[in-house]
């Protein structure tokens, strides 16, 4: 462990005092932030040379960002337990036998959730709820089943205080899935996030229409291209956190992101970017991630001591890590400007082609980098189009087209997206607010999803332009809760604050309505 300066200690102590005195943080939010400050004093990772000037600099020059994971990772960032095993066998550590009816199943899950760690300290994956609950759904009558599911979802919304928490349903329609959609349509909750794994021919249209109606009320579920995900990650994958495709019974050790727009600022020309600056930063970020992964596996003790591992709900061999990026649009636009060209990403063919060329460089690099302890993904990290942070300014999420610059026609928008979704098995996605009041036509959305998934788009979200629950970048918040926080009141869920930041800095309320 390396020494740090007293100046840094005192700065941290001031930050700690600010957290303790904060009028807008709940007790739980204070504890999380206090732990983050304590961790920030640690210096234990074997950091690659050159990292400091890419990571620990002003936000407008930062090229690599570790997304608040801390200096000494105490657990993997994202954990996706095998809840089916828990339903079948119970859990010795939690002293819970296997459930025998719907009451016990829901109660057991709620207990389990409180013991699944993550970077947010809340479970980022709460299970494939339809498959988990279907065996128990007929142990009570339908009215009771719906009431129990309703109470269960309210419990999750009020105790999993972070919408980077994700439930999955589909692709096959089930009674449990239908009831969950009905409940979610009525509740209009921000937590948990919900994804329906969709496969044409497997997921029936009437089930999809129910899901779309739900999405236009409560901004969820989102829709994942099941065929595409299973071809990359096998059937045993989950969608967790924002929209992250990860191995079931494992997860992601870490997620770092490249800020491509800032890397472009370092380059003299397109050629300089492609041949010098980008490869330089790629190499340092990969080695930084290697160091984080090694610490978790070799030193933290997590994989030796945690009950999730000991009882086989997760296995070290099922973990990988996410090689993230933001700001492809910012990067392309800046590089073109540096060369005196006027094209814009999302609109001009040569700008989009430059985007593809950059993605190919990143993809090739990742496929040649030997990542430690990532057997499940072939010894390499998985690319991830990161959605951004609340404090990001002038940073466009992943490979999205910036808000305010969306093509006039949705077809032109989609035809840009389908060149980029394929690169990201660990997640990417695009979001479309829909003018529901005019449309009254959920099949319109269904046709777009079918077409998109035939064209190898990976993940799509829709919400009604006038609903209270809205999708910020990947996660959900309630507009009404943001307004409360903005007026100086404390709010229950951590992500409300992030949403408020994103609405001010990221213009998420100004997306083009379709």
């Amino acid at each position: 462990m390396r020494d740090i300066s007293m100046e840094r200690v005192n700065k941290t102590r001031e930050a700690i005092l600010d957290i303790i005195k904060s009028p807008v943080l709940t007790h739980e939010q204070k504890l999380t932030n206090l732990a983050g400050q304590a961790d920030s004093l640690m210096e234990v990772l074997e950091l690659p040379e050159g990292l400091d000037e890419l990571l620990n600099v002003d936000i407008d020059r930062q090229c690599i960002c570790d997304l608040s994971e801390g200096h000494a990772p105490v657990r993997p960032r994202y954990i996706a337990p095998d809840y089916a095993k828990f339903m079948k066998e119970g859990c010795a550590f939690l002293q819970l036998p296997a459930p025998t009816d719907l009451y016990e199943a829901l109660n057991s899950l709620l207990i389990f959730y409180k013991h699944v760690p993550s970077v947010t300290n809340y479970p980022v994956y709460v299970g494939q709820l339809d498959e988990l609950l279907e065996p128990f759904i007929d142990t009570v009558d339908e009215v009771q089943a719906k009431k129990l599911l309703r109470m269960f979802m309210i419990h999750v919304d009020r105790t999993v205080l972070d919408s980077f928490s994700h439930a999955n349903i589909g692709p096959k329609p089930t009674k449990a899935g239908r009831l969950l959609l009905e409940v979610e349509t009525e509740l209009e909750h921000a937590v948990p996030n919900l994804t329906l794994k969709y496969e044409e021919g497997v997921t029936e249209d009437d089930f999809m229409l129910k899901a779309i109606e739900c999405a236009l009320h409560s901004a969820k579920p989102s829709f994942a291209n099941h065929k595409m995900f299973k071809s990359e990650l096998t059937e045993n994958y989950v969608i967790a956190s924002c929209y992250n495709g990860l191995p079931l019974g494992g997860g992601s050790y870490t997620l770092c992101r490249l800020i491509l727009g800032n890397i472009a600022k370092r380059a003299q020309s397109i050629q300089d970017f492609k041949e010098r600056e980008l490869p330089y930063v790629l190499n340092i970020m990969a080695r930084y991630m290697d160091a984080r992964v090694r610490f978790e596996v070799e030193e933290s003790g997590f994989f030796e001591h945690h009950f999730l591992v000991k009882e086989g709900f997760i296995r070290r061999e099922r973990f990988t890590a996410m090689f993230g990026l933001v700001g492809l649009a910012d990067c392309v636009n800046l590089l073109l400007k540096k060369e005196g060209k006027t094209g814009r990403f999302g609109h001009d063919e040569y700008a989009n082609t430059l985007g593809v060329e950059i993605m190919n460089i990143i993809n090739d690099f990742n496929n040649s980098h030997e990542a430690p302890y990532c057997e499940v993904s072939g010894g390499h990290y998985l690319l991830h189009a990161q959605v951004g942070l609340a404090e990001d300014q002038h940073v466009t999420p992943g490979t999205r087209i910036p808000i305010g610059e969306e093509p006039q026609e949705l077809i032109d928008h989609l035809q840009v997206l389908n060149r980029f979704h394929k690169y990201f098995p660990s997640g990417t996605g695009d979001i479309f607010p829909i003018d529901l009041t005019v449309h009254r036509n959920p099949e319109f959305v269904l046709d777009i999803i079918k077409g998109a998934f035939r064209q190898d788009l990976r993940y799509l979200s829709f919400y009604s332009s006038d609903s209270d629950v809205i999708r910020v970048t990947g996660y959900l918040v309630k507009r009404s809760e943001m307004e409360k926080l903005d007026s100086g009141l404390a709010v229950l869920q951590n992500t409300t604050g992030l949403g408020l930041g994103a609405s001010k800095n990221g213009h998420i309320l100004e997306r083009k309505v379709r």
């Binding site: 026609e409 949705l410 077809i411 989609l414 005019v438 449309h439 009254r440 036509n441 099949e443 319109f444 269904l446 046709d447 777009i448 079918k450 077409g451 998109a452 035939r454 064209q455 379709r514």
Partner: protein, 282 residues
């Protein structure tokens, strides 16, 4: 004989309001009636190349070349000055296209769309064009719908009907005199079309624009219900009640009353009492 061309006002790549699912909507120029509440009056007339719009265009997107108005889409900012000042209810932004050219623009939306809908203006003024276009897009696996004011008899175009999946038919008033008051034309053919289309299972949707005060809307809906209820047994179709909104309507007609939700629900109830189940209010 050259190819049948049509003057196309615009093509909307993704439309959610012109039939089931997602469809490309094609609007043809030219109409044979004159609805007081017309929401897109710039589709009514043909361009006379008078050049008035050329002078008024703030962006210089229009020019007069060899007596014809030419349009540069790259300079257009969609301010709509040209269509607002046009004395002929027309638009300089139209294009003359063959069925092949329109079909090529539709193809771009595959596989995101399930079909196309052609509207206007009144698209039934150009039945040969429709027949050719529909044959082309059907070969691509798309469905075909016509949006019509019903004043042209469908039974006279069996070849077109052969390649048409359905018709969305306006009944702008049931009473003939009221129809004439609203549109300037009688509705004998409209009502005959409704029965003929229903009988031949080509009636996808009946539409009524609800403008209280302009005509007796409640009575009209009641009579439509009674007249068409027997057809439901042949093949089901839906009814769309469209609330009048002043957007796009010519200034001299734009002060009609907008119906409230309660009244629209009341009209839907009337239709339900006649056995209609699929009623859409927009």
């Amino acid at each position: 004989m050259g190819p049948v061309k049509a003057v196309v006002n615009k093509i909307i790549p993704f439309s959610s309001v012109d039939g089931p699912g997602n469809r490309t909507a094609v609007f043809l120029q030219g109409c044979n009636i004159d609805c007081k509440y017309c929401h897109n009056p710039e589709t009514r007339g043909m361009c006379k190349n008078c050049g008035l719009c050329v002078e008024k265009c703030p962006k210089g997107a229009l020019s007069l070349e060899q007596g014809r108005v030419c349009f540069d889409s790259g300079k257009c900012v969609q301010c709509d000055t040209c269509i607002h000042i046009c004395p002929h209810d027309s638009s300089p932004r139209t294009e003359e296209l063959t069925p092949e050219e329109v079909s090529a623009r539709v193809r771009k939306q595959i596989p995101y769309i399930r079909g196309i809908s052609v509207s206007g203006g009144e698209c039934m003024l150009q039945p040969e064009f429709l027949t050719a276009l529909f044959s082309l897009v059907r070969a691509e696996g798309l469905t075909t719908l016509i949006d019509s004011n019903g004043t042209i008899p469908f039974w006279e175009y069996p070849e077109l009907m052969e390649v048409t999946d359905g018709v969305m038919l306006d009944i702008k008033a049931f009473d003939c005199r009221e129809h004439r008051h609203v549109t300037g034309a009688g509705n004998e053919t409209v009502l005959a079309n409704a029965l003929w289309l229903a009988e031949h299972k080509k009636l996808y949707e009946v539409r009524a624009v609800i403008v209280p005060g302009l005509y007796d809307t409640e009575n009209s809906i009641r009579q439509i219900g009674a007249y068409l209820a027997p057809c439901l047994a042949v093949s089901p179709f839906r009814v769309k009640l469209i609330a009048y909104r002043p957007m796009g309507v010519r200034r001299e007609y734009a002060d009609q009353k907008v119906p409230d939700q309660e009244y629209l629900n009341h009209l839907a109830e009337i239709l339900r009492s006649y056995g209609f189940s699929e009623i859409l209010i927009i």
